[in-house]
């Protein structure tokens, strides 16, 4: 399946196309089947239309909330402590060689 490498040009922002869906799936490193892309296009369009309700609000001057609590720059003591032992870190790996995670070659 040909995956678009650039975001397709859009007439209207709200109309997500099947090419958009394939493009976003590529960004997310998520393989989706042909029929999945078609179904997802409809579902995402519906969800985004709902979400677009937010554009009714005039909020240019409202500051964004990234975090609800009044805490900033929490730091810990800069002190050495043991890290996870190598064998434990590799314990769940699907493939290991030479004490490293093994993966196939880059494409």
């Amino acid at each position: 399946m040909a995956v678009p490498l650039r975001r397709p040009q859009q007439e209207e922002r709200d109309m997500i196309s099947e090419d958009d869906v394939r493009y976003v799936a590529r960004l997310a490193r998520l393989h989706i089947e042909q029929d999945e892309a078609a179904r997802m296009t409809g579902e995402l369009a519906k969800i985004l239309a709902h979400v677009d309700k937010m554009s009714e609000l005039a909020i240019a001057d409202v500051p964004p909330t990234a975090h609800v609590l009044d805490v900033v720059n929490v730091t810990r003591e800069d002190k050495e402590r043991p890290s996870l032992p190598r064998e434990e870190a590799l314990h769940n790996a699907p493939a290991v060689s030479d004490d490293c995670f093994r993966v196939p070659r880059m494409g």
């Binding site: 976003v24 997310a28 998520l30 393989h31 709902h50 909330t65």
Partner: protein, 510 residues
């Protein structure tokens, strides 16, 4: 030994029986393991029951009772399977983590383990806690013990169903948009989401980090406070965790004199079922009988909370779930031709439809050219939702609403319509966006199914909320024993299925 009814026994009473020597921890644990054996084929609340280990550990608690005498020692608990447990498989109900053996334990779980609670097993959930019915689990479908043809709610549906069905004394859940409160409501039990930061998120497999919070699911408000006491605290491993300004107190209030209860008109305009509305109105009458005043308030940005949530939560999820790539743990696709193929097919085959949908929405909302229109805007809406609450709490002490607009719905009835499913959380999402504590308690039945009352409070008002919930609980007098109605054969989940009762000897509690 006293005959115990696991459908009604509270942790408070179980603890008294243990302390008085009327039952042993091993006997108490056996009550739950027997109930699991009896009803789990119908309810399917657990992904993994650690029965041998629970039996062994409870015997150890009895043997070493002197050393292990703690406030929670010997009280059996169920844990949602998105909290990592060292040596005990943790799946998040996802194929991508089907074989994951954590090498560490979540702080909240470790804290109750250190208090010598007995872990009964890991409970079912919507995959990665994304859903409102537990039907998105790739392991199994959990039934609501009040009517087995309905859902238990979600995403902590396994924990809620386990408690409601008497398969656990109490349970841990997590709440990102209502995932403790909504299933508690649908299953007729108590569920609480503490103030954001009150409980460490370390070891809670992250869904939306700015919203996720661990909390208790219990059979009473007193139990909820008792368990919460042992969950809270600042954890150096979670930089967003904070110390509560005052310790969690065990509630005893029977009256609400002087309390000002806000009732937001916007929450009653979101398609609340007549039966739910009727129980809610009756409960407000009780609130006034107990000496409180009900005040109509406005939270004007309520209708924008759900749209903001469905950008913020998927955006954070798309980043958090990037770590599942088939390299360090979990599922890996067969015969990848190169690294990109490995990533794409591992994730395509490992994630279920709802998780994919949210990764897609999140990636789209964060992608170049769309960030301001979606994520930036949603974060501003979040500010407006917080301001609504700040203004309201200048007038009232607590806010009351139905927890869920409906009672438990039929399995399969919303699975084809993601938006209809999302609407299940319309009353619970705003508290997550604002980081506020909120509790759901049962307030009656509608057509034989439980209705939940939600109380929302200002940040760190856990004690006020628990006292009020306790007084109301006493006045309502809800019977937590479900009838297991409409038993019928349940369809088997298709494809991969590690569910049902399994135990591996290597599974160890600690």
């Amino acid at each position: 030994m006293t005959t115990l009814d696991p459908l009604r026994l509270t942790a408070r009473d179980a603890k008294r029986l243990l302390v008085d020597g009327e039952i042993s921890a091993a006997e108490l644990t056996k009550v739950y393991l027997d109930q699991i054996a009896a009803v789990e084929p119908k309810v399917r609340a657990y992904i993994l029951v650690t029965s041998d280990n629970a039996a062994k550990y409870s015997t150890k608690v009895d043997r070493e009772m002197q050393a292990m005498r703690g406030p929670l020692a010997g009280l059996p608990i169920a844990v949602k399977d998105n909290m990592v447990t060292e040596g005990v498989t943790t799946t998040c109900a996802s194929r991508i983590l089907h074989n994951y053996q954590p090498v560490y334990t979540a702080t909240a779980v470790r804290q109750v383990w250190e208090d010598h609670v007995v872990m009964l097993g890991k409970t079912n959930l919507d995959e990665f806690a994304m859903g409102s019915s537990t039907e998105n689990s790739s392991c199994q479908v959990t039934a609501n013990p009040w009517d087995l043809s309905t859902v238990p709610g979600g995403s902590s549906g396994g924990s809620a169903a386990a408690v409601a069905a008497g398969e656990a004394l109490w349970a841990l859940g997590s709440d990102t948009g209502g995932s403790i409160r909504q299933p508690a409501s649908l299953c007729g039990i108590v569920g609480m989401k503490p103030t954001y930061g009150a409980v460490s998120r370390y070891g809670l497999i992250a869904f939306a980090s700015s919203l996720d919070q661990i909390g208790p699911l219990t059979r009473s408000v007193y139990d909820c406070a008792l368990l919460l006491q042992h969950l809270v605290g600042r954890d150096p491993r979670d930089a967003t965790s904070v110390e509560l300004p005052e310790p969690v107190a065990l509630p005893s209030a029977e009256r609400l004199d002087g309390l000002r209860m806000g009732v937001p008109s916007e929450y009653l305009a979101v398609g609340i079922e007549p039966g739910v509305r009727a129980r809610f109105d009756e409960t407000l009458a009780r609130v006034e009988e107990l000496g409180a005043t009900c005040v109509e308030i406005s939270l004007p940005h309520t209708e924008y909370a759900l749209p903001a949530y469905y950008i913020i939560a998927p955006a954070e999820a798309s980043a958090n779930l990037a770590r599942f790539d088939g390299v360090r743990y979990g599922y890996r696709c067969a015969d990848p031709v190169d690294l990109t193929d490995l990533y794409e097919r591992t994730r395509g085959e490992g994630f279920g439809p709802e998780v994919k949908r949210r990764i897609m929405i999140g990636t789209y909302a964060l992608s170049a050219g769309y960030y301001d229109a979606y994520y930036g805007r949603a974060q501003k809406v979040r500010t407006l939702v917080r301001r609504d609450f700040e203004a309201a709490f200048a007038e009232v002490d607590l806010i009351a609403s139905p927890t869920s607009p409906t009672v438990a719905f039929k399995a399969g009835s919303r699975t084809d319509d993601p938006l209809a499913m999302y609407m299940s959380d319309v009353c619970t999402i705003p508290a997550n966006l604002a980081g506020l504590p909120a509790i759901s308690i049962p307030c009656g039945l509608s057509d034989g199914l439980p209705v939940g009352l939600q109380l929302i409070g200002p940040a760190f008002s856990e004690n006020r909320m628990l006292e009020a919930a306790h007084a109301l609980e006493g006045a309502i007098g809800f019977d937590t024993a479900p009838p297991f109605a409409d038993p019928r054969p349940r369809p088997e989940a298709e494809g991969w299925n590690p569910g049902g009762i399994t135990y591996r000897p290597e599974d160890a509690q600690s």
